[in-house]
Every structure is written in C-alpha cells, then in structure tokens.
Subunit: 408 residues, 2 copies
Amino acid sequence: MALIVQKYGGTSVGSIERIEAVAEKVQQYRDRGHRLVVVVSAMSGETDRLLGLARQISERPVPRELDVLLSTGEQVTIALLSMALEKRGVPARSYTGSQVHILTDNVHNKARIREIDARKVRADLEAGRVVVVAGFQGVDEEGNITTLGRGGSDTTAVALAAALGADECQIFTDVDGVYTTDPRVVPEARRLDRITFEEMLEMASLGSKVLQIRAVEFAGKYNVPLRVLSSFEEGEGTLITYEEEEMENPLISGIAFNRDEAQITVLGVPDQPGIAAKLLGPVADANIEIDMIVQNVAPDGKTTDFTFTVNRTDYEKTLEILQDVARALGASEVSGDNRIVKISLVGVGMRSHAGIAATMFRALAEEGINIRMISTSEIKISVVVDEKYLELGVRALHEAFHLDQSGD
Amino acid sequence: MALIVQKYGGTSVGSIERIEAVAEKVQQYRDRGHRLVVVVSAMSGETDRLLGLARQISERPVPRELDVLLSTGEQVTIALLSMALEKRGVPARSYTGSQVHILTDNVHNKARIREIDARKVRADLEAGRVVVVAGFQGVDEEGNITTLGRGGSDTTAVALAAALGADECQIFTDVDGVYTTDPRVVPEARRLDRITFEEMLEMASLGSKVLQIRAVEFAGKYNVPLRVLSSFEEGEGTLITYEEEEMENPLISGIAFNRDEAQITVLGVPDQPGIAAKLLGPVADANIEIDMIVQNVAPDGKTTDFTFTVNRTDYEKTLEILQDVARALGASEVSGDNRIVKISLVGVGMRSHAGIAATMFRALAEEGINIRMISTSEIKISVVVDEKYLELGVRALHEAFHLDQSGD
C-alpha cells in the first residue's frame, strides 16, 4: 500500500476512450490498495486549438490572458476523468492548479512552482478519494492563473509527490521507459530498468525527450522516485532514483545525441583575464543559450581559440553578434558550422572507471569519424562530429559499450 | 460618465469575429467615458460540445465535475475578449467566477449567488481597466466551482451591477428589446421603450424568453435598471425599471403566451378543508410545476371542481398520479387536454383601470374563441384557449388594445 502520484500526458487522455482507459488503470492501482493522486494534461490537440483561437486575435496575446485560456485545457480533462472514475464507483475529486493551491511566481506562460498546500489533497486521500489535479497550471500570490509552460505537467506531478511525501511518482507516456539510446537509430537499444537522476538529467538535456528536465531536477532535489511507463502497454518502465551504494552501476547507461547544434569558433583572441566573459557575454545577452564551450591556447602562446555550440536556430544571429565582438577584441577570425551534431556517453559508473574516453574515441576512429570537439564532465563525455556521422557514431558506441546487453 | 455592467450572450461571442465586434463596442462605450464591467457567456455551441463530452462518459455525470467542465466555456471567452481589448489598447483584465469571488450556495449545476466581493473589480475599474467576468459560474464556501444553470450569465451581470451599485445593467442579446408580443405572431408588434420589473416578470414567465427570470427578480430586488439591447444593431433597446409615479403608464404593456401548457380537471371532489393540498401535494412531490389553478364549487354544493395547468411534458405523468389520488379522495372524474395554450395580457396600468377583462373577453368572443379557464392577478389576466386559436387570439388582443401604437 503506497501513496502514488501518477501523471498522464495529452496522448494518454487524447479521447474519451483513452480517458476511460486511464480511469480503468487508476482503478486497478486503487484495487491493489494504493492511494492515488492523478495529474493530467490537456487532451492532445486541445492546447493547439486554444492557441489557434488566441492567434486569430493576436500574434502576441497578453500573457496573463493566454494562461486563463490555456488552463481550461487541463480543467476539461480533470472533470472528464473524475466523471469516468465516479462512474466506476471510484470516489474522485478534481482540482485546478488554483484550487489545490499550486503557488507559482507570476511569470505568465512559464511560471515556476514555489509551494503547494497539500492539505486538501491529504484530506481527500484520507476520505478514500482519488484526487485528480490539473497539470501545467498554478496560481500566483494575487490569485492570477499561471501556466508552467508546455510539458509542465510532469513538474506538477513531481512537485505534488514531493509535497505529499509520495512513495513514487509515475509518469505515463507513449514510450515504455528510458532507453540506452533512440531505438529509431539503434534497433538494439534496450530499455533501462533504472537510471540515476544525474544520468537522466544528462540524457534529457541531450535530447532524449522522455521527461521534462525541470521535473527531473525537482525529483532529484526532493528525492522523489520517478518512474517512466507506457500508458498503453503493461510493464515496469524505468525507475529514476539516486545511485545506491550497494548497487553495481553499469559503466554507461546510455547514449544521447542532439541534432540541433551549431558550432562557432573564434580564433586568435588576445589571451587576457575576463576575455571569455567579454566574448560570450553579448551572446548570452541576446538570450542565446550556449551549450559546450572549449578553450585552447593558440600555438603562439599569446592568443587563445574559443569554440562553442549553440542551438542551430540561433546560428546566424550568433555569428552576426560575434563578428562585431571579435573585431572589437582584436580576434583574428570567426567561423562556424551548422551541420554538426553532438553525441554523449552518459553513466555514473564512469566516475570510478578509467579508460572510457579512450574506448569511445577508438570506437569512433575505427569508423573513420573525425571528432571536432570534446567536452567532459564527471558522468558524461560529449563529442561533436559531422552531422552525417550521427547514426554511424551512435551505433558504433552502442556496440562498443555492449549496451544491448543487460548489465544486471 | 456612468458605471455600466454589460452582458453578452453566447451568440454575441459565438466566433472570433463576433468577439472582436464586442471588443469594439466595449471600446466605444469606454471612449464615451463610461467605466465598464463586461460579463460573457460561453461561445455558442461550446456548452453543448462540453456536455457532449460528458455524456460520452455518463448519462448522469457527477454534478460537481460537470460544473468544473462547463465553467471552462466562459473562461475561454473572458480570455479571448480580454486579448481583443488589449490588442485595441484598452487595458482589460479577466476573472473567473471563482477569482472575482462570486460566492454561491453549493447546489451544483443550479447554484444561487449569495454574495459578491467586488473589491477586485473596483480596484481594476479605478486603475482604468475594463473588467471581463465569466458569467454563469461561481464558487461555493469550500472553493468548489459551481454553475448557475443555463442562461445564468444574466444573473451574474445583474448581481455584479447590484454589488457595484452600477448605473445600468445592459443585456446584449440577439433581439433589440422587449416587444408588445412575439413579432412572429403579430407583425405589428412594437418594441417597448420601457417596461416595469413586474410586467417583465409576467412577460418572461409567460414565455417571452428575452431575459432570465431570475435575473429580472434580482434586478427588481436591488433596483438595478436593466436594459435589453441588440448586439448586432444600434438602438436604445428596452429599459426595465420600477414604475415611476409621474409616469402615465399604458394600460397594457404586452401580450404573452405559452404553447407548452396542458390542462387537467378533477370533478366532484368532496369539499372539505385541506382538499387542495391533498389533491395537488402528490403532483408537487413528483417535481411537477403547477401553473394556473382554478377551483369552482360544483352545482351540488357539496363537491368542488379543480382545474389546473402543467407543462405539456408532464401531462401524462400528472394524469397518472391524479387517477390514484382522485380515487382515494372519492372524486368523480379526472380528465385533461394537452392541446391548449395560455394567453396573458400584462400591464401595470390595469391596476387603476376597470374594464380591461371585459374588453379582453369581448375581443376573443368576436373571433369565436371559447375561453376554457380564466385567472387574474393584479397586473395580468390569463386565459386558456384551444391551441388552434393561439395566433388568432393574440392578434385580436393586440389590435383591441392598440398595442401597435405607441402610448407615449
């Protein structure tokens, strides 16, 4: 008998039939004796329909009113799911983000949760009810409706699980777990039984879009065990938890990759304190997110070379900004390439094992793949390669680290 | 410069184009220096769409959740209208029933307003904003979303006007005012410039479905001047206020009629105290609303005859109930007719004028219309006639009282 927070995304509640299927699943869990809080998104297509209405009025609708509009999407789902539960004889009660008091800051369209007053939910659980909560939305201190931004329902679920001290937060989605890599690229990719928060964060930020990164951070921070499972198939999914001491961690958990990268190089920058900030500050000021940064001393010893990556959509703009900055700083050259990709090995096991990088580079070299940039962290090694080598590189690494075989 | 509460119904906000047109109208009023609170319904069709979703799950969805579902309809409209106003440079702010704290009882699907905390609205008005409020909805003491039942947006508008001490409450609809009778029956029917609350109540309850009856009661109780106007055409509409002393009231304001009536007669009921309650109690217990009631002493002096009308849809059920009751009471006969209609003359002027009834009966007699039942009140005379005489009767009365000519 556990307290479980479950979250069902837009596809899982995309029609009346699917809502009925979710109700049935919830009932099964309840029949096993669990207490349940269910967080739902808007029915798939609904958010786009509402956005379409707003855009007919204005290309840039007032953010406050956009939140009032979009938050109706989940409100429809909580009502329908509660009806479906009650029809099955399962006592249920729905709450909007405002009713259950998911207090957020006042940044409309991308608010952050500050606090949840879980008293109402607790009282309902004690009365034997299933509590159905609208994901993605909250309320600011003045009572204005806010939304957490797209995909924010995961965060709602995790925050509720943390506030309630739930035993597990289950994210139901259209995949049945976290894989060693994208199965569309490597058919041998294997579902992981478990993965650590840190690994998941690296996997998520690098493009394995199973979970919202903020939700994983939140879960890690409050130590909420997170499980990703399929709404449509049976299975245990993937459990995301903290590394356990007694556990023999696999060397590598997975291979993430990102196709949306572009690389920019500034050569011959006079090497002096604060030069990185001078160079990259204007880029950050333009709200462009910088991903990998590599700095090398140039052969002459007096200048330095910078290479970094940005999102491909920001490529032109970044180049433009840097032409000016580089000229002002006396750099010799700015160049770039927007046909590159990033491949990353992720694994907490890497901390205690040497030679991972060497194996990685050898595997890529054997396939004739030229590495253009390398960046490492404690549990991740990322390389930038030519776009055309993406699939070849990921497959080579998957094989080299035997990720198709279970480490258990 | 006045404080005006305006209400726009579902047809008036039925599309993005119409919402833009409402925004334009609101802007015009504001440009003339008025302070405005705008109450809106769900876009036409939206409530039915939501009901359709609920009915796919259950023929009798849980009332609490139905309110959560249906209340999204107006929430969409307030957001879109506020966006349209802001786009025009008119500062606006939307509020759900819960946000603006329209406190109701907890009778889901047909809640009644208890209290409105108008502080937020006042603060916004003082800051120069147009306040856009979702009609038809409120919140109970425990924070549950409630709805006032269909058409309840009129009541929201009147209640807000009362709470704010507004100068006028304007109900924009698809007709341009209140008419002497239905223009589809009498082409000469004339729009009334003004009518009293009492007359309007009689007109509304008798089938001139321009305004929600509860809204008129509310407006009368709190003395809120109510104006009915067209969303689509220019014009002054009809003002509904209290009778003014100095005003020369027209004899008759209008002719209402109701096609949905059925008549039931119980003959030979032993005349004893409490007999009416014994006879009609079981009908009321079955939630059947009784309209006109007429009691006559029978020729023998010891028994009495009852005739009353009910809604035509309740006809069979009422007959069934009465067969049993009449037998138990020893009545001699129960009969009925469901092909009858009610026609009513309404006018406060009737109070101080004699001979109205005589004129009415004569006009009907001249057309060969047999009167089956008569019932009078201080400002109304109703007759029941055969269904087939409805149009003929209404036209004859319209002419007899010269309603096509302005009384001013």
